[in-house]
Amino acid sequence: MMKISKSPWLLHYDGSSCNGCDIEVLACLTPVYDVERFGVVNTGNPKHADILLITGGINRQNEAVVKQIYSQMPENKVVVAVGICACDGGIFKECYNILGGVDKVIPVDIYVPGCAARPEAIIDGVVKAIALLDRKRELKKRNAAALHKEA
């Protein structure tokens, strides 16, 4: 059986994070932590990506960018919010320019808290995302089969 979870591609976007979580996300992709052992490849192109990792909260200016990246990704996709700012705004919640967490503009599947989120936690989130990717795919297949039967 073909499984997308064998090699999901990952896209990272920096919302309005302080860089702390971004460099931890990058640290995950490099030796010592290395998520590539789960088949994860980092890509810069949203149309190649299955998993979207977002760090930092959402503000007025990047709202449209996040929405666009999300819409460019092919179905089935999983969104992982990395760091407390991406989860709900964190320390910057009270800032005038922060709308809140990523879930204010796009649906989020996995929340990874922490300031900054530790690489172990990020890897855990990515592994959960991979499992979810399979489940979403399975669900879609079943729905399609059910529709076919009805027809």
Partner: protein, 359 residues
């Protein structure tokens, strides 16, 4: 004259870990002008001083940027300490120096890795970042955090490093120095790397001065100025000279930063030899009143903290001018006349930190 076209660059781009948008005006392949638009990471944290008191604000200051987190916290604390005329204990000053230089090493290694990634040398990127992890391990061992440390407070440090730990670190740095010497040979001597870096993106000494650039970006164009010479923390007791290059191209910027890593290791060694025993913090009473411009040399250059306090627990104004903000006009200048394919490398060689810039 060939037709002009405008190519948008960013905010989401494979080579950029952070969002910045540039409108590149091209004549065929040549960039004639670049117009930046920023604000994607703007949070407005300067205004948080109205909601967090001046002690709590240390945590916000540390989160201006996750790469120079320690130095942001320290710069803010030193500014407030200057207003309140608090003299921190000598051991705290040396601790600040050691952690500062560790931050510089980790930041420069991070940058070297990203540069290798930008010119497509993946294994070099991985190797550099593997080395950087050692610095982060030392940070975690000494402060408890990998990226955000929260060891600064107004009046000194929250944590002490015992002398055994410092000795242990010196051993790690000695190993690192050896393997780093091998690694940088690829950056400096490899012909493929050289062909991407040499004679690209010149900034003359005059331009560097006129455009108000700071840090390694400025020093690689021949201006010898290092804000550490101002004498904050324990720097007045340590010996070092600003590292410069006369060339002013991308290669010079790489070279300067590489030599700064070795310089930082040397500074840590000097500090470890001189660090006195004693307290690491003094109690601070009362509220600050007055104003002060504090300057700190970060990995990317001079950062400025302006603090205006009114004698209550909330500050009137906290303003930070970060090095990347000062370097942006210089970067736009280097972009003029370059090939479109060189744009990512040129942007990277100023070591941009967008979350600092936009706060």
């Amino acid at each position: 004259m060939s037709k002009r076209s405008i190519v948008p660059f960013g905010p989401q781009h494979p080579v950029l870990p952070e969002p910045i948008h540039l409108d590149l005006v091209l004549e065929d392949e040549k960039v004639v002008e670049a117009i930046p638009s920023i604000g994607f990471v703007h949070r407005g944290l300067e205004k948080l001083v109205e909601k967090k008191d001046f002690n709590e604000y240390v945590y916000v200051a540390e989160r201006i940027c996750g790469i120079c987190s320690f130095m942001h916290g320290m710069g803010y604390c030193e500014a407030v300490e200057n207003i309140m005329e608090v003299e921190i204990p000598p051991r705290a000053k040396y601790l600040r120096t050691i952690w500062c230089e560790m931050s510089r090493i980790h930041s420069h290694l991070l940058w070297l890795g990203l540069l290798a990634d930008a010119f497509g040398f993946e294994s070099l990127f991985m190797e550099t970042w593997r080395m950087r992890e050692k610095v982060l391990d030392m940070f975690e061992y000494s402060t408890g955090g990998r990226v955000i440390f929260s060891v600064n407070k107004i009046g000194g440090q929250r944590k002490d490093m015992d002398n055994d730990m410092i000795r242990e670190f010196l051993g790690v740095f000695a190993d690192m120095e050896r393997s780093l010497k091998e690694l940088v040979k690829t950056f400096l001597n490899n012909s493929a790397v050289n062909s991407r870096l040499r004679d690209v993106g010149f900034l003359t000494k005059q331009q560097a001065f006129d455009l108000g650039t700071v840090g390694p970006f400025m020093r690689s164009s021949g201006i010898s100025r290092d804000t550490r010479k101002l004498g904050y923390a324990a720097y007045p007791n340590l010996e070092f000279e600003p590292i410069t290059s006369e060339v002013g191209d991308c290669y010079a910027r790489t070279d300067v930063r590489i030599r700064e890593i070795f310089q930082s290791i040397d500074i840590i060694r000097q500090a470890a030899a001189k660090i006195p025993n004693g307290e690491v913090a003094v109690p601070v009473k009362g509220f600050p009143e007055g104003e002060y411009f504090m300057r700190v040399e970060q990995p990317r250059g001079e950062a400025i903290y302006y603090i205006k306090a009114n004698g209550t627990k909330f500050l009137d104004r906290m303003r930070v001018r970060t090095p990347t903000f000062a370097n942006l006009p210089g970067m736009l200048e280097t972009l003029k006349g370059c090939q479109l394919a060189d744009v990512p490398i040129l942007i990277l060689t100023i070591d941009p930190c967008i979350s600092c810039t936009e706060r």
